[in-house]
Amino acid sequence: MRRTQNGDRQAFSLLYERYNAPVLSYLYRMLGNAEDVESIGQEVFLRAFRFAPTYKFPAKLSTWLFTITRNLAINHARRRKRSPVRNVTELNLEGHETSGDPYGVASRATDQAEKQEEIARVLTALDELPADQKEVIMMGIFQDMSYAEMEQITKTKAVTLRSRMFHGLKRLTKLSGGGEEERG
């Protein structure tokens, strides 16, 4: 990172190689739109390069990068600014055609049909969650961030994040048909 701070493009390439998948996956999960992911993903790494000198050691690099990512995603959602829709085959992300299908993911996770159905229902229900609950699940579960890291990125108390995690998963049980209300 110190070399990137001095404008070293090769050092930046290593940072980009390490973090492009977590950042782009987070954006894809939060925004659910490959076009938006591509435009915001470009902006995230462009800003990381441009503003590298403002990064302060010994802050965790992933925390700094995800703070930029989250802020851009929130700004984007706030502005509702959509990039022009293009043909999906022209997009430059790898893996989104298969990993965006919950049934495809579920079928690779297990051979049991019933379990596949449950997994796919839960994954599908993720998009129905309120944004704050979805965010904590995306960061904590899919990005494997601790509550302390999420606290720094979101500027939200850890106890609130724990509550959102609990209620988010509880709501998922209902949305995916596991709760008593839906059964009744």
Partner: protein, 321 residues
């Protein structure tokens, strides 16, 4: 709207939310799920369903996982090259004329301001003189690191390494690490940005050559877009002053202190600072800290772990006039 959880007073909810984040296979998961299945806890059927959903999410972690393809990478690197090149690109004549014209206008305004307020330069000089030789008799925070309790100080940010305060301040012994870990002690008391204050610290020569020692003045009420810290840094036996925008105010200056320690002094005023160490003035000039945010003072160690060595910071004091 979901009802609030009383997580802080319910140890099991704390365990459960830890487990839900860490996921199946983690020690947190094993502890919470074992308790849930064997002991039974209030609301356990609901908790069991939540646990099942969490297991499904673990199985579906691949969902919406993407990485950059060659086109995405090429476009990004082109944009970065373009941005780097634009910094060196020559400007059109009209732009140069406009910029020169702008400078002339700014210079005229600056001259006018100087004529109207002839004391501004004198004020800066006076502020520096006050920082160099003024008396700072009102102690805001003080520590002698002899094993006694520390009032007006707190450990912060150092999740990875604890501090040992028994015989001089130093990072506690830990397992060696390839990465730098940090340990921080900072004042809980603050000073207002329009006040003068001095941070005087007696620093001994670290026995660990990889240890980095930083003494800093930081802004509270941080705005993420602003710089926030003025720091004296000791690394590889050399002392430097880092300004909030990341620039170093001086080239490395040899710092030799021995076990008795040498005084490092950071004096800050409303706009200026004077930093001295080992009797040498390393920097005197603008500190570029915010004019509105409160200021706190602190000591940070960056360590690669291993044996702690002798105490590095022997005493510290923050004072106002």
């Amino acid at each position: 709207m979901s009802e609030p959880l009383d997580i802080e007073s319910d140890p099991f909810l704390m365990q459960l939310t830890d487990a839900l984040r860490a996921g199946p296979g983690s020690p947190e998961w094993h502890t919470a799920v074992t308790k849930l299945r064997k002991d039974g806890v209030q609301g356990s059927s609901e908790h069991a369903m939540i646990v099942a959903v969490r297991e499904h999410l673990e199985s579906g972690k691949e969902y919406r996982t993407v990485r950059a393809g060659p086109g995405f990478t090429r476009r990004l690197m082109d944009r970065i090259d373009e941005e780097a090149a634009s910094k060196h690109r020559s400007w059109p004549l009209a732009t140069i004329i406009a910029i020169v014209g702008g400078f002339v206008v700014v210079a005229l305004i600056a001259a006018l301001v100087y004529v109207i307020s002839p004391n501004s330069e004198a004020e800066r000089t006076a502020e520096l003189a006050g920082l160099r030789s003024g008396a700072f008799g009102q102690t805001v925070a003080q520590a002698s690191f002899d094993g006694g309790s520390l009032t007006n100080w707190q450990e912060s940010g150092g999740e990875q390494v604890k501090l040992d305060t028994a015989a001089g301040l130093r990072p506690a012994t830990t397992q060696p690490s390839k990465q730098y870990m940090n340990a921080v002690l900072s004042t809980t008391s603050t000073v207002r940005p329009n006040e003068r204050a001095v941070f005087e610290v007696l620093v001994a020569q670290p026995s660990d050559p990889t240890l980095i020692v930083q003494l800093f003045v930081e802004e509270k009420q941080l705005d993420a877009s602003r710089p926030e810290e003025l720091a004296w840094t000791l690394q590889n036996g050399e002392a430097q002053v880092a300004l909030p925008d990341g620039r170093f105010a001086n080239s490395g200056t040899k710092f030799s202190a021995g076990k008795e320690g040498s005084l490092v002094r950071i004096a800050v005023g409303p706009t200026m600072t004077v930093v001295t160490s080992g009797g040498r003035e390393l920097y005197a000039g603008s500190h570029f800290l915010s004019a509105t945010n409160l200021r706190a003072f602190g000591i940070r160690f960056l360590t690669k772990g291993g044996r702690a060595g002798d105490g590095v910071v022997l005493s510290a004091r923050v004072a106002k006039p």
